[in-house]
Amino acid sequence: MKTSLYMSAAAVALASAPAFAEDLTVFGPWLGPDQETVEKVLAVFAEKSGHNVSYVGSDSFEQQILIDAEAGSAANVSVFPQPGLAADMAARGFLAPLKDGTEAWINENYAAGSSWVDLGTYADKDGNDDLFGFFYKVDVKSLVWYSPENFEDAGYDIPTTMEELKALSDQIVADGGTPWCIGLGSGGATGWPATDWVEDLMLRTQSPADYDAWVSNEMKFDDPKVVAAIEEFGAFARNDAYVAGGAGAVASTDFRDSPKGLFSSPAQCYMHRQASFIPAFFPEGTSVGEDADFFYFPSYAEKELGNPVLGAGTLWAITNENDAAHDLVDFLKTPEAHETWMALGGFLTPHKGIDSSKFADEATAKMNDILLAATTFRFDASDLMPGGVGAGSFWTGMVDYAGGKDAAEVAAEIQSSWDALK
C-alpha cells in the first residue's frame, strides 16, 4: 500500500484492519434520478460484498473533490467526469493506484482497451506512470437527434456522409425550414457544447494522431488545422439560415432548452447534435425511438478517416484507500455491474462480455453499437486539456467565436491562455 500523507489516522486504521465488512463512501457528479440509479448499482455491490456503501453527489464535484482531498476528508472512491482532473490529482498524490492486473483486464475485456488504459494512466507524485482510473459508464457524443415523423413529413432521408448532411441542411433551408438547433448556454460552463462540435469536426477533418497532438498541445491551438475545424463548426453555427433563431441566438440559448425546438409546432429545427444524455431534456412524454431518434454524426466520404466517435466517460478512482474500495473496482469488472445499470437505462459500456439484450431500450443498444463500431474512439478533448483551457478559455473562446469573432484570433487567444498555464 502506498503511504499517503493525506489520509486521516482513522482511515489508515480502517485500511490496515483485516475487517471484512467496511464502510465505503463513493463521491460522484450524479444527482437526482442519476443518483438513484447509481445507488441501486452500489446496493448490488453492497449486498454481494457485505460492505456498507454510501454515495454522495455534488453539482460542483470538480471543486468539492479538491477541497476534500486537500483537507484529507475525501471519499474512498471518487467518480471523475474529467480525466484531466484525475491526472492532476494523481500528480499531487491524492489517488491510490489500482491493483496489479487491472490493466491487463481492461486490455482484454474493453473494446479499444488500450485507449481506456491510456486514459486512466497518469504520472504519480514521483513521476512514475501507474493505472489510477477505471472507466465505467461511457457517453457517446457523435449523435444527431431528429424527429423521425418530421423527416417523414418532409420526405428527408438520414444522411450517411458529411456531404449528404450538408446537402440535407441546404435542402431544408430551400424548403423554408431551419436545419439546426444549437444552444451553447450552460450557466458558468457556457460554451461547452461548441467544444464538442469542434472536437467532432476535428476528428472528421484530421487524423487521430493530429487530434492527440492537439489534446497534448504538441500541435498548437492556433494551428491552421484546428482553425479549420473551428471554421467548419462556424459553417453550421454562424449561418443565419442554418440555425433556429439565427446565429445570434446560438450563444444565448440554453443547451437544455435547445433540443425542444425539434418537437415544437411548427418545428423550429430538424436536427440537434448532442451527446447521449440529452433525452433527459426532451419534453415530457417524448419516447426515444418513436418521437425522437438519432443517427451517427457522419464523417466525410472523401477524407477516408473511417468512422470516428467522440465520447466521454466517468472514471472511478480511489481517493482514500481501503480494501472495500478495491473490492468495488473488482465488482465494476463483472458483467453484472454493467448489466445492472444497463437495465436501468442511460448506460453505455465498452465491456465486450456483456449481454446486450439487457439494455433498457433499443435506442441505448443502438448507441452502444455506434460505440463498438467506431474505427476510432477519442475522448472529449476539452476534458483532457488542462482545466484552465478545457473548462475555461476553450469554452469562452467558442462563445466569442459564435458571437462573430474571427476563428484564428480566438484560437490564438486560447493558445496564449494555454501557454500561460505552463
Partner: protein
C-alpha cells in the same frame, strides 16, 4: 404657507412613488417565481409566467389514439375508423386551425376534412373530437395533429410534492430540514453570546490595546471566508473534530463574529455613559453591569444580529459543504437537498422556483416575528 405645504406634498408624492416603485421592483420577480412554482417544466419553457394566467393561443402537437390498440378502430361503411378526442377529454381547449403535417400546421379550419395519403381522411372539431378513416386497416402509431388552440390557464402543485417529499428516499427533505435547524440554531446563539461579552469589553472596559483589537475586528470584516476554508478544515481534521455539526457551528461562529462584535460594540458604546457610571458608583461589578444594564438595553441590536446570522446560516451551502456534509451523506442540509433535486445537469427551473418558496418559509416566520427589532438594530451604532 401654501408654498411650503405644496412643496411638502409634492415631495411626499415623490417619496411615495419611489417607495411604490421599489416595492414593485422587488415584488415583481417574486410574483413571477411564485407563479412559475405552480407550472410544469414544459409550460415554463413554452411561454412566460405572465401569459400563464390568461387563456393563451398555442401551437400544440396532439396525437390520435393508437390504431393498434384493441378496439380502437372499427369498420364503418367499409372504412376503418378511429374516433376519439385529441385532448383525451381532459382539457377544455378550443382549436381554431389545424393540420396533419409538421410543414403545414394551419391548413384546415375546424370541421374540415383533410385528405391524406393512401385515401386516409381526418376531421377535427373545435373541442378536439376527431374522426380518422382509411380504406385499409390502420397500423402504426396514432396520426399527429398540429393544432392552434386556445388553452385555459393550468396550474399544478406537483412541484411542491416533489420538493417536499423528495425524489429519492422518502422524508429526505424532512431530515434535511431538521439538519438545517440543528446547524442554524446553535450557529446563531453561540456567536451572539460570545460577541455580546466581547462587545461589552471593547466598549466599556479599559485595557491596553483595546483600540488595536477593535481595528483588527473591523479589519476581519473584509477578509473573505473562502480564504479560510481549507486551512480551517485541515485544523478540524487535525484536532479530531472532523466533518460534523461541531465543526460547522465553530466555522459559522468564527465567520459571524467580526460583524457581530462590530455591530454590538457600536451599539453598546452608544448607550448613555451616566447609567453605567452610576451603577459602578453603586458598587456594581462589570459582570453585573453587563447582565443587568447592557444586555436588556441592547436587545434590539442582539435581535437584529440574530436575524442576520440566522438568515445567513439558513441559506448557506458553501460552509455546510465544506465543514458538514461528509461522504456518508447523513448530514445533508436543505440547500444541498435542493441542489440535488436539480439533477446532474441542472436546469429544472420549476424545482428551483418551488424550492425557493419552501426554503423561504422559515426565514419569513423568523423575520416577521422579529422585524420590529430589525430596523432599530440596523441603525445600531450609527447614531451617537
Amino acid at each position: 404657507m401654501d408654498n411650503i405645504a405644496g412643496r411638502k406634498s409634492g415631495l411626499s408624492w415623490a417619496v411615495n412613488l419611489s417607495v411604490i416603485f421599489l416595492v414593485l421592483l422587488w415584488l415583481f420577480p417574486t410574483a413571477g417565481l411564485f407563479v412559475s412554482s405552480f407550472r410544469s417544466s414544459d409550460q415554463i419553457s413554452a411561454n412566460g409566467w405572465w401569459q400563464s394566467m390568461f387563456p393563451t393561443e398555442q401551437n400544440v402537437t396532439l396525437r390520435t389514439a393508437d390504431p393498434d390498440d384493441e378496439g380502437a378502430q372499427e369498420l364503418v361503411d367499409g372504412l376503418y375508423t378511429v374516433r376519439g378526442n385529441l385532448f383525451d377529454g381532459e382539457d377544455t381547449a378550443d382549436i381554431s386551425v389545424w393540420g396533419y403535417s409538421s410543414r403545414a400546421i394551419d391548413d384546415f379550419t375546424v370541421g374540415q376534412t383533410a385528405e391524406m395519403k393512401d385515401g386516409e381522411t381526418i376531421t377535427v372539431e373545435a373541442n378536439g373530437d376527431y374522426v380518422w378513416t382509411s380504406p385499409e386497416k390502420l397500423t402504426g402509431r396514432g396520426q399527429r395533429v398540429f393544432a392552434t388552440a386556445t388553452t385555459p390557464p393550468k396550474f399544478t402543485t406537483e412541484n411542491y410534492g416533489t420538493v417536499l417529499s423528495g425524489s429519492g428516499t422518502d422524508g429526505a427533505m424532512a431530515k434535511a430540514f431538521l439538519n438545517t435547524l440543528t446547524v442554524t440554531i446553535p450557529a446563531t446563539i453561540i456567536p451572539i453570546v460570545i460577541a455580546a461579552f466581547a462587545a461589552y469589553a471593547l466598549a466599556w472596559m479599559q485595557f491596553p490595546g483595546r483600540a488595536i483589537l477593535i481595528a483588527i475586528v473591523v479589519g476581519l470584516l473584509v477578509v473573505p471566508l473562502q480564504l479560510a476554508l481549507i486551512p480551517l478544515l485541515r485544523l478540524h481534521l487535525g484536532i479530531g473534530i472532523g466533518k460534523g455539526y461541531l465543526g460547522v457551528w465553530l466555522a459559522h461562529t468564527g465567520f459571524g463574529l467580526p460583524l457581530a462584535i462590530y455591530l454590538l460594540r457600536n451599539y453598546m458604546a452608544g448607550l448613555p455613559k451616566d447609567i453605567i457610571e452610576n451603577a459602578k458608583v453603586d458598587g456594581a461589578t462589570d459582570f453585573q453591569v453587563f447582565t443587568k444594564i447592557i444586555l436588556p438595553l441592547s436587545f434590539p441590536a442582539l435581535a437584529s444580529f440574530a436575524i442576520f446570522q440566522f438568515l445567513w446560516t439558513w441559506n448557506d451551502l458553501l460552509v455546510a459543504k465544506v465543514f458538514l456534509i461528509d461522504a456518508t451523506g447523513q448530514t445533508t442540509v436543505m440547500t444541498q437537498q435542493i441542489v440535488e433535486l436539480l439533477g446532474t445537469r441542472g436546469g429544472n427551473w420549476e424545482i428551483l422556483s418551488t424550492a425557493a418558496f419552501v426554503s423561504i418559509a422559515v426565514p419569513l416566520l423568523v423575520f416577521f416575528a422579529m422585524q420590529k427589532y430589525l430596523v432599530r438594530g440596523l441603525l445600531a451604532g450609527s447614531v451617537k
